[in-house]
Point group: C2
C-alpha cells in the first residue's frame, strides 16, 4: 500500500502521531502490516485498491516512518487537515482506526502539532500567568474545593459552603461536574448567590477569591451561561470538556468571553485508561491548543487512576514551552501558546498534600472536596487544614511536625492519615 | 453509604443504567462495594463522609437495585439531571466513575430514559419514514457509497465519482469522515459541484438521489455549512458525532435545519470496544434521542469490529418503538421518537450483501466505499454490482446464481469473493 517509509524524515509541516499497537494475533497480522493499515485508514487509504485513486492523492498518504517494538510514529502531511477544526483532525488520526479488525488494541499516545495547525487554534486566554495575576498569588499552588455534596444543595446552601471554604483559606470554589441547572439549584440563582458570597469573603479576608460555575450544556446554552457569569462579575467558568465535546469547547473558546476556562475531564477514563484508546496526554494537549486555562490531570495519590509518572508527564506537557521527546511522547514547541494550570483533584485530603507538591511542583491547583467538607469540624476547618498542609510543604516542615501546632490539620490527619 | 437497595423498584421517573463491572481485585474491592461506589460517585456521594450532607440530599442518591454476577443496575432519580442537557447527564452516569481506582473495568451497557427526559430532546426530524419518503424507496435497503479515495480529490473529481455512483445505482453518496473543508477540496465548491451532478443523475435515472456532505467542525461553522447545503437545495448533511461531541450535535439538531442528519461514528471504538467504557448501544441510543436520522452501527461482516449480535442489537434499539429487556439491555419505550436508519459501513462489498441483509433486515443503509470504487471496471460497475447483489438478496436468489447473468456482480465476486 505504500504507507511505510522508514527513510522518511518528517517535515516541519507534518503532524506526527505516536501510537502503541497490538495487532490482531488471531488473524496473524504482523506489527508492520497493522501499523501500515492504521496509516492508510487514517489518511487516504481503504481496505482494497481503488480505481479512483490517482498519483496526487497517493502522495498525500501518511507514512509510518519509525517503529520500535509495538510503538510507531506516523507523519501526516498537514494538508490532510482543516485548520482550526479539531473534530476533523481527530476523525482522521483518532477515528476509524480504533475499530479496525486488524488491530486488537491501539492507543494514540501523543500528537506533535505543526506550527500552522497550532496557530489555527486560540490557545489559553489567561494561562498560568493570567490566573495568578487575577488571584494575586505568585508562587504557591492554588487551593480549591468542590462544593459537596456534589449535587442536591440549594443555591443558598451552596453559597454558604462556598463562603466557608473561602474564609477557611480556599482560593477557588467550584461546582461539581454533574451540577449545572437543575430544579433544586438553578444556575442563575446559584451564580448570583455564590458570587455575592465571594465578594463578602474577599472583603473579610482581603484576598482574591474565585468561583467557577459549571456552564456545561448544549453549545448556545453554554455561551448564554458564560455571558451571564461575566455580567454578574464572575471571572471563571467551568466546562466538562469530554462530555461536551471538542466542537462545543472550540465554539465556547471562540466567543472570547473574558472568563478563565476551567476544564473538568469527567468521562475521559472511558478511553484514556488501559492500552486501547487515547492517552490523557493527548486530551490535555488538545485542551491546551483549543484554549482552556486549567485542566484536571489527576492526583497521582488520590481516588482516581493515573500513576505518578503519567500525571507528572501530563502536567509538564501543559506547563512547559518546549517538550523534549521521551519514550512515551513527542517533542513539541508550544511557542506563544500559554501554559495551562494542572488541576489535581479526586480523593485529595491534607495528608496527601506534601507528597503531591513534591511530585507536581508549585504550578498546580490542589482541589479537595470530601477532603475539606468531610473534616470533622466542618468546611471552614477543612479549608484551614488544607492550607496548613500546603504551608507545611512550602516551608519544608514535616506535616506531622506542623500538625502539632495546627489543630485543624491535626484533626484531619487523625481522620484520614497521611503519606 | 446507602447506595444499595435490592428491595427498591425503580419508578417511571427514574433513569436506569445497566453496568458491567470488574472491581479492583488487587485492592480486594468486593463486587457489591464497587457497584455501590459507582452509584455514589455518579450521584450525590464521594469517598468520605461529609459534614455538609443533609437528609434531603441523601434521599436523592442513586440506588443499585439489582445485581447478577458482574452486571448491575442503578436507578437515578430524574431530578438529578438537567433536561435536554446530554453532557450533564453523561457527566453523571458516564463521568468520573470510569476513572475510579476501586474498579479495574466498568462498562455502561445501556440507559433507560424516563419519559420526562426523553421528551426534553428533539429526536429525529425525519427518521426512517422521512428518509424513505424523500428517496421514494419504500421497501428495500438503501444503497450508499463513500467517495474514495476518502481524501485528496478535487471538487470536480469528487463530483464525478459521485455521479458515476448514482447512475450505477447508488441512492446515496457521502463524503468520508475526514473530508470537510481542506485546501484541495473546499466545502462550498464541493457541495455545489456534487449537487449539480446529483441533479443530473436524477434527471438521467428518474430516481431520487442523495448527497451527504460532511459538515463536521466547530459548532457555528457546522451550522453555517448546514445552512449553505440547504440553500443549495441539498437535503442531507453528515456529522462525525463522536469527535464533534454531544453539545455540538445538540446545537446542530436544535437549529431544526431541514436536512436529514447522517451520523458517522468515527472514534467511537476508542471507548466502545472491549470491557471498559461505553457500549455502542448507548452511543446509538443517545444519537436517536438527540435526533440523528441515520447512524453507522457496524456491518457484522466487514473490516470493522462489531459482531453479529452486537450490530443486530444496536439496529433494533434504534429502529423499534418498544425494546424488551434482554441480558445486555434494558427495556425502553421510544414513544413518538422516530426510528433511525442503521447504516452498515466499513469494508463492505457485493459478496457480503446477502448475508448482511439476512442479519439486519431491510431497514438499513448498505454503504460500500472500496467495495464500489475498487471494482475492476470502476465506480459505475461497482455500483451496479452492489445493486445486483442487493437484488439477489431481495429476490431470494443465491448470489452466485444471480451473478451468472449479471457481469458486474460476477467480476466483483471474482475479485473479493462472497460469504
Amino acid at each position: 500500500m505504500g504507507y511505510v517509509d522508514f527513510g522518511y524524515k518528517p517535515s516541519k509541516d507534518d503532524l506526527v502521531c505516536l501510537f502503541r499497537i497490538e495487532p490482531n494475533h488471531e488473524e496473524r497480522v504482523p506489527y508492520r502490516k497493522a501499523a501500515e493499515m492504521v496509516a492508510g485508514e487514517s489518511s487516504t487509504g481503504t481496505w482494497t485498491e481503488l480505481k479512483t485513486m490517482n498519483k496526487k492523492v497517493r502522495n498525500m498518504g501518511a507514512k509510518v516512518f519509525e517503529m520500535r517494538g509495538n510503538w510507531f510514529k506516523i507523519a501526516y502531511p498537514s494538508k490532510l487537515f482543516e485548520e482550526g477544526n479539531m473534530p476533523q483532525i481527530l476523525s482522521s488520526v483518532a477515528g476509524n482506526i480504533f475499530g479496525m479488525k486488524a488491530i486488537s488494541k491501539l492507543r494514540l499516545e501523543d500528537i506533535k502539532w505543526p506550527e500552522k495547525i497550532m496557530k489555527s487554534f486560540k490557545g489559553p486566554k489567561f494561562g498560568i500567568p493570567g490566573v495568578r495575576k487575577i488571584l494575586k498569588v505568585s508562587n504557591r499552588p492554588l487551593v480549591g474545593t468542590i462544593v459537596k455534596p456534589k449535587i442536591g444543595l440549594t443555591p443558598k446552601q451552596h453559597a454558604k459552603v462556598a463562603y466557608e471554604s473561602w474564609v477557611g483559606g480556599c482560593d477557588i470554589v467550584k461546582d461539581d461536574e454533574n451540577l449545572t441547572d437543575q430544579n433544586f439549584n438553578r444556575f442563575e440563582e446559584r451564580v448570583k448567590e455564590t458570587l455575592k458570597m465571594r465578594d463578602r469573603a474577599e472583603r473579610e479576608t482581603g484576598d482574591k477569591k474565585a468561583y467557577m460555575p459549571n456552564v456545561t450544556g448544549e453549545t448556545k446554552e453554554m455561551i448564554k451561561r458564560a455571558r451571564f457569569v461575566r455580567k454578574q462579575d464572575g471571572r471563571y467558568m467551568m466546562v466538562d470538556i469530554v462530555t461536551t465535546g471538542w466542537a462545543g469547547l472550540q465554539t465556547l473558546r471562540n466567543q472570547n468571553i473574558n472568563l478563565v476556562m476551567h476544564a473538568h475531564r469527567a468521562g475521559h477514563a472511558a478511553f484514556t485508561r488501559g492500552n486501547h484508546g487515547i492517552s490523557m496526554l493527548v486530551v490535555a494537549d488538545i485542551a491546551r491548543l483549543i484554549g482552556v486555562d486549567q485542566i484536571h490531570v489527576g492526583t497521582a495519590v488520590g481516588k482516581m487512576v493515573g500513576g505518578k509518572e503519567e500525571v507528572k508527564h501530563v502536567g509538564e506537557e501543559i506547563e512547559e514551552r518546549i517538550i523534549r521527546e521521551g519514550h512515551h511522547s513527542l517533542e513539541e514547541n508550544w511557542g506563544e501558546i500559554k501554559p495551562v494550570f494542572a488541576v489535581c483533584s479526586g480523593g485529595l485530603q491534607p495528608g496527601l498534600v506534601p507528597r503531591l507538591v513534591e511530585i507536581m511542583g508549585s504550578n498546580i491547583i490542589i482541589q479537595a472536596g470530601g477532603g475539606i467538607h468531610g473534616h470533622p469540624n466542618g468546611t471552614k476547618s477543612g479549608a484551614r487544614a488544607m492550607r496548613q498542609a500546603l504551608n507545611s510543604a512550602m516551608e519544608g516542615i514535616p506535616i506531622e511536625e506542623y500538625a502539632k501546632k495546627h489543630k485543624e490539620l491535626k484533626i484531619a490527619i487523625r481522620k484520614w492519615g497521611k503519606i
